[in-house]
């Protein structure tokens, strides 16, 4: 039992433990460039922060966008989100130490357990596309939150559409 569980548990603990009340980044879990270029003191260029490369920060621009939305009962990636996944896939390809957790969500309607499975379909779909875009299989774990962590709770499509969603989280963010 312990042999089978340990790798998964270790993985879970790494993800779980990465979540701390503080917002410190953890360079070991986010890919950092091998040697960030040091800015010369007289230069006007800002020193590069961990987690960035070539000016691309996970906190700015395209890479700061982390959510894919779905139509009712669907889990395929709509065309409008492909550039986003391409950007994240590329980031993962270029930062082999980076890890990502993809959390699939559903709107509130229906069985909670069936919604866990639907949410998983969504996150698996995101993972598949990220891998197509360059990520390696071991970098991305797809999981589901089902309907358990909704962004809103109204019983209406305006809210439901917000909850039909996959979120991408990098190591240090969960």
């Amino acid at each position: 039992m312990k042999k089978a569980l340990f790798p998964a548990l270790a993985l879970a603990l790494i993800y779980g433990c990465a979540s701390t009340p503080t917002t410190e980044t953890k360079p070991a879990e986010q890919a950092s460039p091998a040697t960030p270029p040091a800015a010369p003191p007289s230069s006007a260029v800002q020193p590069i922060q961990p987690g960035t490369v070539q000016g691309e920060s996970l906190k700015e621009g395209t890479l700061a966008k982390r959510s894919v939305y779905y139509d009712l009962d669907k889990y395929d990636i709509k065309a409008e989100f492909r550039p986003l996944l391409q950007a994240h896939g590329k980031y993962l390809a270029e930062h082999r130490n980076a890890k990502m957790l993809v959390q699939g969500n559903c709107d509130e309607r229906g069985s909670r357990e069936y919604n866990i499975a639907l949410g998983q379909r969504r996150s698996e779909g995101v993972k598949r596309m990220l891998v197509l875009m360059g990520a390696s299989d071991s970098q991305v774990e797809p999981v589901s939150l089902g309907e358990e962590k909704p962004r809103c709770t109204e019983h209406a499509e305006g809210c439901w559409s917000q909850n039909r969603r996959s979120d991408m989280l990098y190591g240090g963010e969960y």
């Binding site: 039992m1 089978a4 569980l5 998964a8 548990l9 993985l11 879970a12 603990l13 993800y15 779980g16 433990c17 979540s19 701390t20 957790l101 959390q103 509130e108 309607r109 229906g110 069985s111 909670r112 357990e113 069936y114 866990i116 499975a117 639907l118 949410g119 998983q120 379909r121 996150s123 698996e124 774990e141 797809p142 999981v143 589901s144 939150l145 089902g146 358990e148 962590k149 709770t153 019983h155 989280l169 969960y174």
Partner: protein, 426 residues
């Protein structure tokens, strides 16, 4: 190791009283109620609380009885002192009399008799020796005894229910007596908890926790002071636990291979084996063992929409059970194996259905619109399920014929995911 400690510290496993009372109100009438009078027991005031009050409340809350007003009537403990003609004129079918006394060792003796008013005979009686802490449980046993003698069915007043309470960002898995008293939190978390399922002997609970930001399966003893290690924390999501009646097997849904499939394992997580293997991408979930342990009912969308199937617990080809409509989920088989309760979406409303497994007739027990997570009482007579009212999560209990209804709630909190515990050996 420090990180592990931090994770553990983020959760509290308490065996302490929960904050807010679980309230139970009758909202739908019962038909054919048996009129019964519960007289205060002689010398009942030696007990720390009134035992007959609890018996009365149990009986009337069940919807099967109409308890007659007995105010001002002197306690009587001997049958020869009963004025049967008087009780007949008050239209009582049955009368409960009894007495209490304090024993030299500090415990109490409580004995009662259940009398048939028409025939003027004793239907039964019992004597209990109890500590002060056992007054409530003894009252529930007396109510069970009365219930069984007068209805022919086993009472569930001595059983417990589990449920999840959400208050703001705080989640608690609680266990309370069937009357809502004595609620204890067995897990407190800042992340959601779902799918609590009692072990058949009522000593353990399987549940799904999102404490690691993904669903992970635990099996925890009710007397545990710390959360144990998870039994399933594989790649992806781990959820939907179900116990075999012999308690030797836990069914669960894992996504290790990329799709939600049903696995079997020992309750400690060892001996993992895959049970279902539907076509690529299909979802199989919500496994539920039949009472004889031979079959498993489950939800699958292998046919294109979520429907209920049954397969042998030893594996094999599943057989489809539901055919009406395009959404039938959450199968639960009654303790006598004859009825399937499940949730059906009809015109956009999620409602509780019951299917006679012999003739396949179905009946809607509720109207929805957002009913979910049904659980049978161990006597099969009541189904507890979750719903919402005015934006607040509540539980409802409905009799298996759909006629009698109660609402259970916790003030200023959402309550969800009920699980009715088993009969206990004592």
């Amino acid at each position: 190791m420090r990180r592990l400690a931090m994770l553990a510290a983020a959760l509290l496993v308490l065996a302490g009283p929960a904050r807010a009372q679980l309230t139970i109100e009758i909202i739908g009438g019962g038909a054919n109620q048996i009129p019964v009078a519960v007289l205060p027991f002689a010398a009942e005031n030696v007990l720390p609380q009134s035992i007959t009050e609890i018996v009365e409340q149990d009986l009337s809350r069940s919807g099967r009885f109409r308890t007659l007003f007995v105010g001002g009537i002197s306690p009587v403990s001997d049958m020869k002192d009963v004025n049967f003609a008087d009780w007949k004129s008050r239209l009582a079918d049955a009368l409960v009399i009894g007495q209490a006394s304090r024993l030299p060792d500090g415990r109490f003796d409580v004995r009662f008799r259940l009398l048939d008013v028409q025939k003027q005979v004793q239907l039964g009686g019992f004597a209990y020796t109890l500590t002060a802490a056992q007054v409530r449980l003894t009252a529930h046993k007396i109510a069970d005894f009365i219930y069984e003698k007068l209805t022919g069915e086993r009472g569930v007043f001595s059983t417990r229910i589990a449920y999840v309470v959400k208050q703001g960002s705080r989640f608690e898995l609680r266990v309370a007596d069937a009357d809502g008293q004595n609620a204890q939190a067995i897990l407190i978390s800042q992340e959601p908890i779902m799918s609590p399922v009692w072990s058949p002997d009522g000593t353990r609970m399987a549940y799904v926790s999102f404490q690691n930001k993904k669903p992970i399966l635990f099996v925890q003893s009710l007397s545990a002071s710390r959360q144990p290690a998870p039994v399933a924390a594989y790649r992806g999501s781990n959820s939907a636990p179900g116990w075999s009646p012999d308690a030797k097997t836990l069914a669960a849904v894992l996504t290790r291979d990329g799709t939600s499939q049903i696995y079997l394992m020992n309750p400690d997580g060892s001996n993992l084996r895959k049970l279902t293997s539907s076509t690529t991408g299909a979802i199989d979930t919500e496994p539920f063992f039949t009472p004889d342990g031979q079959s498993i009912y489950f939800t699958s969308d292998r046919g294109g929409s979520p429907q209920i199937y049954r397969m042998a617990a030893s594996g094999g080809e599943p057989m489809r059970i539901t055919f009406d409509g395009d959404y039938n989920v959450s199968p639960r088989v009654s303790p006598d194996g004859k009825t399937l309760a499940y949730i059906s979406r009809v015109n956009g409303r999620f409602q509780l259905m019951a299917m006679d497994l012999e003739n396949r007739q179905t009946q809607a027990l509720t109207e929805g619109p957002r009913d979910e997570s049904p659980t049978f009482a161990p006597n099969g007579r009541i189904i507890l399920y979750a719903s919402d009212v005015d934006g607040r999560g509540v539980l409802y209990a409905v009799s298996s014929d759909g006629r009698f209804k109660q609402r259970l709630g916790v003030l200023a909190a959402d309550i969800r995911e009920p699980a009715w515990g088993p009969f206990m050996g004592n």
